[in-house]
């Protein structure tokens, strides 16, 4: 599904390298977690993959089902099936949540040469998905994320994921700012989307989210590289020992 090879990334404005040779393969239907201390490059990885401006790829490659995504615009990556659940979902006053999701879905369908979805079918789809995420229907009518609580914003991200049905989902610190109940709701939403054709890359600082979204593989990232990979037990190791010990262990 997602294939990252020796990826090197610099910050465009400063002469600073953030990713220093990341290798990562996520197979179809797999859930991988990337854990790491602050500043390790986790979020940069998610931004570079989704096409945010300000980063320069100096070496390496990233492909989604064999297609080079680094050359694509963000909207092309989305249409190709990539989805980033933002750590800080953006508030956009004046653009209705429904209008936004429908425009996005139909833009993706159009880009893939598929038929657009009618307004009534779309409404049905969104209502059903929102219900399973226990979202107040009123949130659908409001402007994107405006006046949403932290938990509501994250649930709105998962709703978009459910509506857009991407192949490769990247969750960037989706647990940050969530209380336990909100985290459970979000995790349930994600788990409901797990399937043999959909893969996940769950980026997180803490292990606790991984109790709810159990990964197949856990990677530890430090200083712009993946320094250790293993099964779910690796996440528990981090929880007990902290990152410093693991860094020392592999050094």
């Amino acid at each position: 599904m997602l294939d990252i090879n020796n990826l090197h990334v610099d910050l465009e404005d400063e002469d600073k390298s953030i990713l220093k040779g990341v290798d990562l393969k996520v197979g179809a239907g797999e859930v991988h977690a990337v854990m790491g201390p602050n500043g390790s490059g986790k979020s940069t990885l998610s931004y570079v993959l989704s096409g945010r401006e300000g980063y320069e790829v100096t070496e390496g490659s990233a492909t989604l089902e064999g297609a080079d995504i680094l050359d694509m615009d963000p909207e092309e990556r989305a249409a190709a099936g990539l989805f980033l659940a933002f750590q800080y979902p953006v508030e956009i006053p004046g653009v209705g949540n429904m209008t936004f999701m429908r425009t996005a879905l139909n833009a993706q369908r159009k880009a893939r040469g598929e038929e657009e979805m009618s307004a009534s079918d779309f409404l049905k789809l969104v209502r059903e998905k929102a219900k399973t995420l226990k979202m107040d229907p009123d949130m659908l009518k409001r402007p994107i994320n405006v006046g949403f609580s932290g938990g509501e914003k994250k649930r709105n991200e998962i709703l978009q994921m459910a509506v857009l049905e991407p192949k490769m989902c990247i969750l960037d610190e989706t647990d940050s700012g969530l209380d336990v109940d909100a985290m459970k709701l979000v995790a349930e939403g994600v788990n409901a989307l797990r399937g043999k054709d959909r893969s996940f890359l769950v980026i997180t600082h803490y292990q606790r989210l991984l109790n709810h979204i159990v990964p197949d593989v856990v990677h530890i990232m430090a200083n712009g590289r993946i320094i250790k990979s293993g099964g779910p037990e690796l996440a528990l190791e981090v929880e007990e020992q902290g990152y410093e010990d693991i860094k020392a262990e592999v050094a």
């Binding site: 989704s50 945010r52 989305a78 953006v90 956009i92 004046g94 653009v95």
Partner: protein
């Protein structure tokens, strides 16, 4: 104070070029008085403080600058609405294209007729609000209009009018000049929606005087046509009685020169006035909103919401003032003017002013100018929305606060559709 020589010359040159309509005694007197005001003030000059950001030259000079005609290939504005149409072509009333001027709850007449009638209610109103609006800031183009306008509509609204009256302005000759003066009087408890659309002429001078009596409700929605080369100077003078409502929204897309002035005065307590505008321009577009709201009554609410989208070197101007007189306690005044600059070549000039002589009021104003929010743009694109569509969505979102000022949902939808059309046409 004597008018400087250059200004005097320019004023006399313009007056000599214009043809003054004939009329009944009272109209003659009103026009004499208005032209005396013009001569006393002199027509606007680019060194006038009030015209600091907008060059008035082409509005003042005797020759009308040529304006190419624009053939719109889209559905007629407000075409799907049940309305009473009154059509002016290059400033001349077109009886054939207009509907029958009879509608329950309103007396509809034309200025050309009433100014020839000796006894008419209009004699006590024509030019009155315009003259009041000349202090503390001179608005000579409005006085010129009162002095020279040969036609316009004269509406006396006595009930709640069931459908909107739509003034439709066509532009058919490349150097035409239209000078129209409308008089609207809403009696106690009356209600009217007035629509205006179209470019009117190569050069348009429009004045509307609106008396809103106690408990009356006036809704005004205007679009200024698609012609780009036309020039327009418009004035709305409104006076609000107790518990009355006045709402005016203007959409402007295109136009090398537009100056829209709105002068409102609260004279009765507990009244509400909202003035809003959404303007979008490209290239040599120049759009100026100049608003002056005077609170001279208690517990009145005024809102000014003006949004401008500027690209490829377009210019936007906002001059807005809230004057709260001593005794106008509990005034709620709000003013916001914002521009969205889609590139680095476009300019926005804003001059927000508050002048307050009462001690128990809530007044606020804000003015911003900025580019498309990159964070928001990336968020939309990351969901699969192409850059251009995402930019349009954010542009419409920026204009939304002004458009929201339109009370009627159908009319609001009509305006949003036109805004979307403008954006779509500008895609590469």
């Amino acid at each position: 104070m004597a008018v400087p020589q250059a200004k005097y010359d320019a004023t006399e040159a313009r007056l000599a070029q214009m043809q003054r309509p004939a009329g009944a005694g009272w109209a003659e007197a009103a026009r004499d008085a208005a032209l005396a005001r013009v001569r006393e003030m002199g027509l606007p000059h680019r060194r006038d403080e009030y015209w600091k950001f907008t060059r008035p030259d082409t509005l003042v000079q005797p020759e009308v600058p040529e304006a190419a005609l624009f053939d719109a290939d889209e559905p007629e504005m407000f075409g799907t609405f049940d309305r009473l149409k009154i059509v002016f072509v290059d400033g001349v009333f077109d009886a054939e294209a207009s509907d029958d001027l009879s509608l329950e709850g309103v007396e509809i007449e034309r200025l050309a007729e009433v100014t020839r009638t000796d006894i008419h209610w209009a004699r006590d109103h024509y030019g009155v609000l315009e003259a009041r609006g000349q202090a503390p800031v001179a608005r000579p183009l409005a006085a010129l209009n009162t002095g020279m306008a040969g036609d316009g509509v004269v509406l006396r609204v006595t009930g709640k009018v069931s459908k909107p009256i739509n003034l439709v302005y066509h532009h058919r000759a490349t150097t035409s000049e239209a000078v129209l003066h409308h008089l609207v009087k809403l009696e106690e408890g009356a209600a009217l929606t007035l629509l205006e659309n179209g470019p009117a002429a190569a050069r348009f001078n429009n004045v509307m005087e609106v008396e809103v009596a106690d408990g009356a409700n006036f809704q005004h929605i205007r679009t200024q046509g698609r012609d780009h080369e036309r020039r327009a100077a418009t004035h709305i003078f409104g006076r609000l009685g107790q518990e009355s409502v006045f709402k005016s929204f203007t959409m402007t897309a295109n136009g090398v020169l537009t100056r829209n002035e709105c002068v409102l005065e609260f004279t009765g307590d507990d009244a509400v006035a909202h003035v809003a505008g959404a303007a979008m321009g490209d290239g040599d577009f120049h759009h100026d909103d100049t608003v002056f709201v005077t609170h001279d009554a208690e517990r009145c609410e005024s809102r000014q919401v003006f949004k401008k989208v500027l690209r490829n070197g377009a210019t936007g101007v906002f001059q807005g003032k809230i004057l709260v007189k001593a005794g106008a306690q509990k005034t709620d005044g709000y003013q916001i003017s914002q521009s969205l600059l889609l590139d680095e070549n476009s300019d926005f000039y804003a001059k927000p002013e508050l002048e307050i002589y009462a001690d128990d009021v809530a007044c606020s104003h804000g003015s911003t100018s900025g580019a498309i929010d990159e964070e928001a743009l990336f968020y939309l694109r990351a969901r699969g929305i192409p850059r251009e569509t995402a930019t349009d969505l954010l542009t419409l979102a920026f204009l939304a606060e002004a458009v929201e000022e339109i009370e009627d949902a159908d009319l609001r939808a009509e305006i949003v559709e036109r805004l979307e059309g403008w954006l779509t046409r500008r895609r590469g």
